[in-house]
Amino acid sequence: MAFAAFGSASPTKDSGNKRKGGPIVLALLLPGLIYLALFFMTPLVNLVVTSLESPDPTGAIGAYFYDFNIGNYATVVSSYMPQILRSFGYAFAATLFALAISYPVAYYIGVKLRSRPLLQRLMLTLVIAPFFISFLLRTIAWKQLLSDNSGFVSLLHATGILGQTQFFIGSDAAVIFGLTYNFIPFMTLPLFTNLERLDVRLLEAASDLYASPRKVFSRVTLPLSMPGIISGTLLTFIPIAGDYVNASRDFLGSSKTSMIGTMVEADYLQNWNYPSASAMSVLLMGVILVLVTAYVRRSGTEDLL
């Protein structure tokens, strides 16, 4: 899905009239086309078809028949509105936090550490290092570290940030923390790739032209790093909106933090309500596509991408 978003972000105008449809080109494309047809188009069509099914008249649990039941979408929207809003709220917050944390880190590694390539590579490895351990394990580890009888929670109790009957795990903050933590490398890496190529001579030129350090950042550094920011925010926002692990009761969430993903999982695996789960998935995909398109259009960085 992320790649589809990138595809729409950089329209290739001349691809239509310059097409050379030789047999070799076709042969080279075939494996990719077959792969997409089998593993992308087929499930997608299946998903849309399932989302329109109606319950079997016999009332058997998990039995549905092919139909054109648009009502599934209305049901999903009306009954899962809090989860939908929460999903995008969490995704928005976690993306912002990830950006706020990643930007200085990426700037430091990509710009400040240029003169020390060894240290630069080491720092970059540290950013990716958490990936070597399954994110499920790491999230469970955080659950332990932030559990109700942990030092962290005692500290929150002692300082009065949390009341004596309130705990961290299961709160919105815990889920947003987990989402930020788990997806932050997807923000840092595109930012780093962009800032690594930042021409510092342009920053010198700006300060030579009476721009204070703050102005140099807002007028030159930030606009030039927009492509990195766009890629990073898309790569974090999209998967976060569909995440169901962090918000789940087994990890950092509670029944009050359920997201769209949580509901899809519940409908599919526990309630066997396949049309509802499918409708929710299609809806999530649609909303993300609309948001991403509007975002890329508005940021107006087409010529920098």
């Binding site: 001579r201 342009l202 030579d208 032209l209 204070s212 350090p213 030039l224 010529d303 920098l304």
Partner: protein
């Protein structure tokens, strides 16, 4: 532009400026004074410290010690954006995310000058690119980008304009054209220009004063014609144009002249044109000031005659012929003869004597690198 034409530059002074980088000294206790309104060139090979000097003046580099004064005011501790100094960078450093006009207006807008749009357009017209204001810098040619960079700096009317080899990336023809334009603009706006370059022709052609730098120091400073006529060190005599250098022990000296002996030849220099009057010294003469003769010429004491030697190479360069003459005990001597239709008909291997006027010779303060003192 004309409305502000009475704005003039400020004088720049570097006092005892030193810059150490880990492992080497880029600038070694440099003193420099550039009077207001002058076109000043810092000339030297790469790594001589000229760009470091420029960056220190711009505030992009902090000197290890010393002071930078602009118009009498100490700006050593000022940040780059606080200095009334603008730079035309070697790479041009135009902002790729802005139009040409926005690039030029950048400095004006940072200083919140209300009239920025008109001033930027005027500056763009000054460099004759008025029709390209909406383009992105990437869409312009190298020469056009260079002019935009110049306009972007000039539009701010800085007290001092720094030029960091801005013509280096241009081809020869365009470079000559830009040199003329740049000089014309400097005369028109009357700013102080500090131009850093490794191109000696460019420096001599454009600058009022040239300072030749070597290894973090200024070797010699002066008007281009003075530097060319009387280089004081071996480095300057070799870096600015070509030189024939003769090295020998001083054998005779009188109140007006000093003579050395090289391979049985007596070479004399005016005392007031010699930096050193005793011991082992180097005397130089420019190739175009030397002549050669097929018979030993009978010339008075106001001439130096050396030879005989053998012509080992002849080069035709258009305006002049260049002859390389090997003289036993002296070494190779270059002689330029102007191509004015009466150049001597001479062939390789011919036996010739070289002569030049004593008043054209100059005595150096040091010996060329690789010549051991003994």
């Amino acid at each position: 532009m004309a409305a502000q034409a009475n704005v003039s530059g400020a004088d720049l002074e570097l006092i005892d400026v030193r810059k150490d980088f880990p492992g080497f000294t880029a600038l070694d206790d440099m003193d420099l004074h550039i009077p207001a309104g002058q076109f000043f060139a810092l000339l030297g090979p790469s790594g001589c410290g000229k760009t470091t000097t420029l960056r220190i003046v711009a505030g992009l580099e902090t000197p290890t010690q010393g002071q930078v004064l602009l118009g009498g005011k100490d700006i050593t501790a000022s940040k780059p954006h606080e200095r009334p100094v603008n730079t035309v960078f070697q790479s041009y450093a135009l902002f790729p995310h802005m139009s040409v006009l926005d690039n030029i207006a950048f400095g004006l807008r940072q200083r919140k000058i209300a009239d920025y749009e008109k001033l930027a357009k005027d500056a763009l017209n000054l460099v004759e690119l008025g029709h390209l204001g909406d383009r992105r810098p990437q869409q312009l040619s190298g020469g056009q980008q260079q002019r935009v960079a110049l306009a972007r700096a000039l539009v701010n009317r800085p007290s001092l304009l720094l030029l960091d080899e801005p013509l280096g990336a241009l081809d020869l023809k365009l470079r000559r054209q830009m040199q003329i334009e740049l000089k014309a603009i400097q005369l028109e706006v009357g700013l102080t220009f500090l131009h850093v370059t490794h191109d000696q022709e460019e420096a001599m052609d454009m600058a009022d004063i040239v300072a030749v730098m070597n290894k973090g120091r200024i070797e010699q400073m002066g008007a281009p014609e003075v530097l060319y006529d009387r280089p004081k060190t071996a480095f300057v005599s070799k870096f600015l144009g070509q030189s024939n250098l003769f090295i020998g022990e001083v054998t005779s000296s009188n109140p007006s002249s000093v003579s050395i002996e090289v391979g049985g030849n007596k070479i004399t220099v005016d005392k007031k044109r010699a930096e050193k009057h005793t011991g082992r010294i180097a005397i130089g003469v420019r190739p175009e000031k030397a002549d050669f003769h097929e018979t030993k010429p009978k010339l008075g004491a106001d001439h130096v005659v050396i030879g005989p030697g053998e012509i080992i190479d002849i080069r035709f360069t258009g305006v002049s012929n260049q002859y390389l003459i090997e003289i036993p005990g002296v070494g190779e001597v270059i002689v330029f003869a102007q191509n004015i239709g009466k150049s001597p008909e001479i062939e390789l291997g011919a036996k010739v004597w070289v002569s030049f006027k004593v008043e054209h010779a100059y005595g150096l303060a040091d010996l060329p690198d690789g010549t051991e003192e003994n």
